[in-house]
């Protein structure tokens, strides 16, 4: 049922790229490379002009994508054009969802997303309190709605989120915004502990860069790892250097493989996971 299936058998590797970065054609190749590299779910960013939750790496990716002409409609085409066999999640900001189509509210966007094969959403500026209409539309069209749990999320808010989440929960590994970092934060373990009785997969993101990070995260109990900035960096650097698309795609595929392998290693070191 839905995105949960991607986490069922083994720890999932969930990469992120901004669709259309640095342009439509190359971006197709990059996303496909992630699938080749072993992605279990792919978070595809639909760029918004005011990405308040993103660090500099992803902001820059968003600017490149917007400048090469990405729009919601192009995004849907992009999804249709993608040749991958991995569940896709659309990551974007609420205003783009809200404005789409002639009718007010999120329904037209969700309908169209379902139509092209999107299976779920991550909307960083949509907290559970404001998510009612989107949750409804997702239910109507059978899509998942992923929420982000921050290190500071506790109590009532956590419960409200638990009621609405589906697919997986995005566990934010540290305070702040997206961006690859060199260490793994203690906050992760705390968060996983707080969520231990949730029956939805827990994917940890924010700052994961290497296979070893991924291993460590999964070892501490995560059902999956979300990796964005480290991959976007490869796109950005290749673009800066003017590398051929194929080379960049290879690099992405290689890092994807490393991350997936790390996650798998982590699962083996896990302190007695109770499988259901």
């Amino acid at each position: 049922m839905g995105l949960e299936r991607a986490f069922a058998d083994e720890p999932a590797f969930v990469p992120y790229l901004a669709a259309g970065d640095p342009n439509y054609e190359d971006s197709l190749a990059y996303v496909e490379a992630l699938a080749e590299g072993g992605a279990d779910v792919i978070e595809l960013g639909l760029p918004f002009s005011e990405p308040i939750a993103e660090g500099k790496t992803i902001q820059d990716a968003i600017v490149r994508s917007l400048e090469s002409g990405m729009t919601p409609d192009r995004f849907f085409e992009f999804v249709e054009d993608l040749d991958v066999d991995v569940p896709l999640v659309c990551m974007t900001y609420y205003n783009l969802i809200y404005q789409y189509g002639s009718e007010e509210g999120p329904r037209p966007f969700v309908e169209k997303a379902a139509d092209v094969g999107i299976e779920g959403f991550v909307v960083p500026d949509l907290p559970a309190e404001e998510a009612g209409p989107l949750r409804e539309a997702c239910d109507e069209f059978g899509l998942d709605l992923v929420f982000i749990v921050a290190p500071t999320t506790r109590g009532e808010r956590l419960e409200r989120m638990m009621e609405q989440v589906s697919g997986y929960v995005y566990v934010q590994a540290r305070l702040g915004v997206t961006g690859a970092r060199d260490d793994v934060d203690d906050a992760t373990e705390d968060s996983l502990a707080r969520l231990s009785d949730w029956d939805v997969p827990k994917a940890v993101g924010f700052g994961i860069k290497t296979g070893d990070h991924a291993e460590e995260i999964v070892a501490s109990g995560a059902d999956g790892v979300i990796v964005g900035s480290a991959l976007v960096d490869i796109v950005a650097e290749g673009y800066e250097r003017g590398d051929p698309t194929g080379e960049i795609a290879d690099e992405l595929e290689q890092l994807a493989r490393e991350l997936k392998q790390g996650a798998l290693r982590g699962a083996q070191n896990r302190p007695q996971p109770e499988r259901t």
Binding site: P72, N95, E130, T152, R157, G176
Partner: protein, 436 residues
């Protein structure tokens, strides 16, 4: 205001809390502090705030009868002189309130965004006054064109962090400050500069600014024996606007007019994502920006447009959700005044009343001229008859700030146009010297 306000994030359909999860605990903590300290005056917070506004800020500000304008428009025009507040604009009401609140909340660091630099300087002053470390985010483009305000912030001991993303203006600075906050919520308070952002900011900033209309309402009654017929204020985010309106909202006989920047034209360029204006209330549609649902300048996809105005402080693609709501309800009348009319109004007020207004403020006076002035550009106006419909017999205009910060812009923009009211500035070419 009621304590329910602390827990109700909405104004009709507008408002809300559209922020990253990492910020939610911070704005919940803030909403709680807002309820206790601001609405319930816990620990005497509001008393201390009002006292500091008086001693440090210079409140009350006068409600001045404007002799020349009153004659010109055949209507009693009163100026609410927020330009006399410490720092030169209404911005300090809010900045001082929030920095003090942060202190009550035990925060140890202040961050803020700024566009034109007015909110940044007000925050830097308030932080210096209350001995709090302070960092201000400001777009690179704005840093280059608002240097005096950058100097003032630095001189008050604040750090100024240049924002290099995008166009390097206010929009980007707000996003960047939110990012800092998302990393530092535990010890840091983000002092937002207008009635925008997620709840509780729009209500809290309004309450801090409401001192404007509290005073003005009392002063008007005292000086004129009754309520004014209309209150006119410019609107960027809308903090001076709601500050000037708040206590009059319940007075149904008082017309409230929010004057936005008409820029160079009301027509947008969808392809480029550019609006040559900032007339959000008149031309924007509903959407979500910087944490709130409100009226926005956006393209049909929902991407935020670049707004434009000769006055940097009105140059924002959103507007406070409460104003959007009051406009939809018909309680507030939106209006807009273009760059040229604002410049003319700037010169008129300066020459006729000896008050040099901020360019933002000048828009409010441009509205007076449009509805009550003459068609000709002669200085001795023949007032039109219909204007009493628009302004009534007594109008209060909020002078949200002083124009010292705008001198260079005004001279440059004036020199591009053929304004008969503009003074001859050639002395500055005859006698040499550097920039301002």
């Amino acid at each position: 205001m009621s304590t329910d306000d602390a827990h109700d994030p909405k104004f009709g359909e507008y408002g809300g809390q559209y922020v990253p999860e990492a910020l939610m605990p911070a704005i919940e903590e803030l909403a709680d502090a807002y309820g206790r300290y601001v609405l319930e005056n816990e620990d005497g917070f509001m008393d201390e705030f009002r006292e500091r506004l008086a001693d440090f800020g210079g409140r009350p500000t006068p409600l001045q009868y404007a002799e020349q304008l009153s004659a010109r428009y055949d209507t009693d025009v009163y100026l609410k002189r927020e330009d006399l507040l410490h720092g030169g604009a209404h911005k300090l009401n809010n900045a001082l309130g929030q920095v003090l609140l942060a202190k009550y909340m035990g925060k140890e660091r202040i961050i803020a965004e700024t566009g034109a630099g007015q909110h940044g300087t007000a925050t830097a002053m308030a932080a210096a006054h209350l001995d709090m470390p302070c960092e201000i985010y400001m777009g690179e483009t704005d840093i280059a064109r608002q240097r005096p305000n950058v100097f003032r912030m630095k001189i008050n001991g604040a750090e100024v962090n240049p924002v290099t993303v995008g166009r390097g203006t206010l929009k980007e600075a707000i996003s960047e400050t939110m990012r800092d906050w998302a990393t530092t919520v535990e010890n840091t308070h983000y002092v937002i500069g207008s009635i925008v952002g997620p709840h509780p900011f729009p209500k809290m900033v309004r309450d801090f600014q409401a001192v404007i209309s509290e005073e003005a309402r009392e002063q008007a009654i005292e000086e004129t024996g009754g309520l004014p017929d209309s209150v006119v204020a410019c609107a960027g985010g809308g903090s001076n606007t709601m500050g000037a309106f708040a206590e009059f909202v319940g007075d149904s006989s008082v017309d409230l007019v929010a004057v936005e920047a008409g820029g160079s034209s009301l027509t947008v360029d969808e392809a480029k994502g550019v609006a040559p204006n900032s007339a959000t209330l008149s031309t924007g549609d509903e959407g979500v920006l910087h944490g709130a649902r409100t009226k926005l300048l956006q393209d049909s996809d929902g991407q935020i447009m670049e707004s434009h105005s000769v006055s940097a402080g009105l140059d924002y693609a959103g507007v406070g959700p409460e104003l959007a709501h009051l406009v939809d309800e018909g309680r507030v009348t939106p209006a807009n005044v273009d760059d040229e009319a604002a410049l003319e109004a700037f010169h008129r007020l300066s020459q006729d009343e000896g008050v040099i207004p901020a360019l933002e403020t000048a828009h409010a006076f441009g509205y007076l001229e449009r509805v009550a002035g003459t068609a000709t550009d002669g200085r001795a106006a023949e007032p039109r008859d219909e204007h009493h419909d628009e302004l009534g017999d007594t109008v209060v205009v909020n002078v949200s700030g002083r124009g010292d910060k705008d001198l260079e812009t005004v001279i440059e923009e004036t020199s591009k146009r053929d304004l008969s009211i503009a003074p001859d500035m050639s002395i500055l070419n005859r006698v040499g010297g550097g920039g301002i």
